[in-house]
């Protein structure tokens, strides 16, 4: 596990280099602190070897607004800072939705909402089949939970006893359908779910580090855009 100093100002600076996708700016910045804590304190990863077999797997299901994601990956050293200003430009590796075949450290290509959680369930099953103790962590948005495929996987994961799966929901209040309280809804389906302040690094780290005997969910509430 990493124990890096969480240099939020540096990640904000890096994210600001990735311009050109202003329509997704709010979405991007809502994930920033959770991503910073995950990559700085929680996930086992090796930026010098993105395919390291012992790594934890992270899937950004909410693929839109990936500026913060790219900033965090660059901060950790998966790719150089000078890639960031190329964001969304012709010839760049960094599009408005991440492509695992183009960006080191990206586990799954995402963008169409509702795909990441079923994928993560499969990754968790596969890790279990290998006898590996790594985790699969997947991040969705609250509005993304409108997609029915998420609820298929939400029903399934507890049934499969996937203790190596963690769902992070960034709740920035963007869902048209009122899902509150999301963590209680998830708990009904059998998840170990808790709600934390999505800007509180200590609370995020504690929640994201916790492991139980079934799938975990951390609902990170974010109501400010910066």
């Amino acid at each position: 596990m990493s124990t890096l100093t969480l240099d939020r100002d540096e990640v904000v600076r890096l994210a600001a280099l990735a311009t050109g996708d202003e329509k997704h700016e709010a979405s991007s910045y809502s994930t920033l602190d959770a991503l910073l804590v995950l990559y700085g304190r929680v996930l086992h990863v090796d930026p010098s070897d993105p395919g390291w077999e012992q790594r934890d797997r992270f899937i950004l299901s909410k693929g839109h607004g990936p500026a913060a994601y790219y900033a965090v990956l660059s901060w950790r050293g998966f790719f150089p800072e000078h890639w960031l200003p190329t964001f969304t430009r012709q010839g760049s590796r960094l599009g408005s939705h991440p492509d695992r075949l183009l960006v080191p450290g990206v586990e799954a290509s995402t963008g169409s909402l509702g795909h990441g959680l079923p994928l993560a369930v499969g990754v968790a099953l596969a890790l279990r089949a290998k006898g590996a103790d790594q985790r699969a962590v997947v991040l969705t948005g609250d509005a993304e939970l409108n997609e029915g495929s998420n609820w298929e996987a939400i029903m399934l994961a507890p049934q499969l006893g996937l203790a190596n799966l963690t769902l992070v929901v960034i709740d920035n209040g963007s869902s048209t359908v009122d899902l509150a309280p999301i963590h209680e809804r998830l708990a009904v389906f059998g998840w170990h779910a808790e709600q934390v302040d999505g800007r509180d690094h200590a609370a995020l780290e504690a929640a994201l580090t916790a492991r139980h005997d079934g799938p975990d969910a951390v609902v990170a509430t974010v109501r400010s855009e910066s």
């Binding site: 797997r57 695992r100 075949l101 586990e107 799954a108 290509s109 963008g111 169409s112 509702g114 795909h115 959680l117 079923p118 994928l119 993560a120 369930v121 499969g122 990754v123 968790a124 099953l125 596969a126 890790l127 279990r128 089949a129 290998k130 699969a136 029915g148 495929s149 298929e152 996987a153 029903m155 399934l156 499969l160």
Partner: protein, 295 residues
């Protein structure tokens, strides 16, 4: 004679036993036949319930971790309902999966329109590099599954109830020459072969047998081309193979004709054989259509 679907499942069970990288993800369908894989290693076999989109996504998770997933259900529920998952989770990410569909076109004739899928192959061919296999009998399904299960691309195996009588020595990506003639070329796809041979028994035509639709064997078609007319007899929507056949013949002046499932909602009920007759896809109907096409 073992059914094509049962054979495909048994072949997967055998591969599951031999290759620890094979994983099976199901959505309630064919659980009994797949029982040996659950007994062998439940960590690589999962029934997700009636969740076809999640079946595809979970399988892609296995593929991301280096497994060779196999998924299976009634054709429209994977080829159409799960199409975006197949496109994005597998196609765009260059991951492999073997998709075994059962009930192609109107095999579940008594179930009505919700269970029909004559557009399955056309839909799946919109995903680049997807391999499409349409065997005519169980033994051919066995051969094609063994050749493709670990090819790291989307491979769709279309199984049907009505089959040919005898297996041919099929090869992946190859057209077989069944008969040589001079007036026209007829391409029979999978289970359409026996009835096409019967329909053309009194015609001076070349008959080619197709079980791999993508990649399409342009070399054999070009070499064996007879006459100026090419008729494709398809077990799915007529014209599904228009693109690959046209591409294969781009330098040859030919008239193309397609005999297949009419592009309309099928409101009738009955067995697959009965609907074949109603839709003009039994031997008599195929004879009529080929005769009309080539004059």
């Amino acid at each position: 004679m073992i059914a094509m679907r049962a054979q495909a499942i048994d072949t997967v069970a055998d591969l599951f036993e031999r290759d620890p990288r094979v994983a099976v993800v199901l959505a309630e369908i064919s659980l009994e036949r797949f029982a040996p894989v659950f007994a062998r290693d439940p960590a690589r076999a999962v029934n997700v319930g009636i969740m076809e989109q999640t079946m595809v996504g979970v399988a892609a998770g296995y593929a991301l971790e280096g497994f060779h997933p196999v998924i299976h259900t009634i054709t429209p529920f994977v080829a159409e309902r799960g199409l975006e998952q197949l496109k994005l989770d597998f196609g765009n990410q260059e991951l492999g999966v073997l998709v075994i569909g059962v009930g192609g076109s109107y095999d579940y004739g008594s179930e009505g329109t919700t269970h029909h899928s004559p557009g399955d192959v056309q839909a799946l061919l919109t995903i680049p590099a997807t391999q499409v296999l349409v065997p005519g009998v169980a033994a051919e399904a066995d051969r094609l599954v063994r050749d493709t299960y670990a090819n790291d691309r989307i491979t769709y195996l279309r199984t049907q109830i009505v089959t040919n009588r005898e297996a041919r020595p099929v090869e992946l990506g190859r057209l077989l020459v069944e008969r040589r003639g001079s007036r026209a070329t007829v391409i029979a796809v999978g289970p359409m072969l026996d009835r096409t041979l019967a329909a053309t028994a009194d015609m001076d035509v070349t008959v080619l047998y197709a079980t791999t639709l993508n990649p399409f064997d342009a070399d054999t078609l070009g070499r064996e081309l007879a006459g100026d007319d090419v008729v494709v007899v398809e077990p799915f929507f007529a014209g599904t193979l228009a693109a690959p056949v046209s591409e294969a013949l781009r330098d040859r002046p030919t008239r193309l004709h397609f005999v297949g499932v009419p592009r309309a909602v099928i409101r009738d009920y009955g067995t697959a054989e009965q609907l074949d007759h109603v839709l003009g896809l039994d031997a008599a109907g195929i004879h009529r259509q080929i005769a009309s096409a080539i004059g």
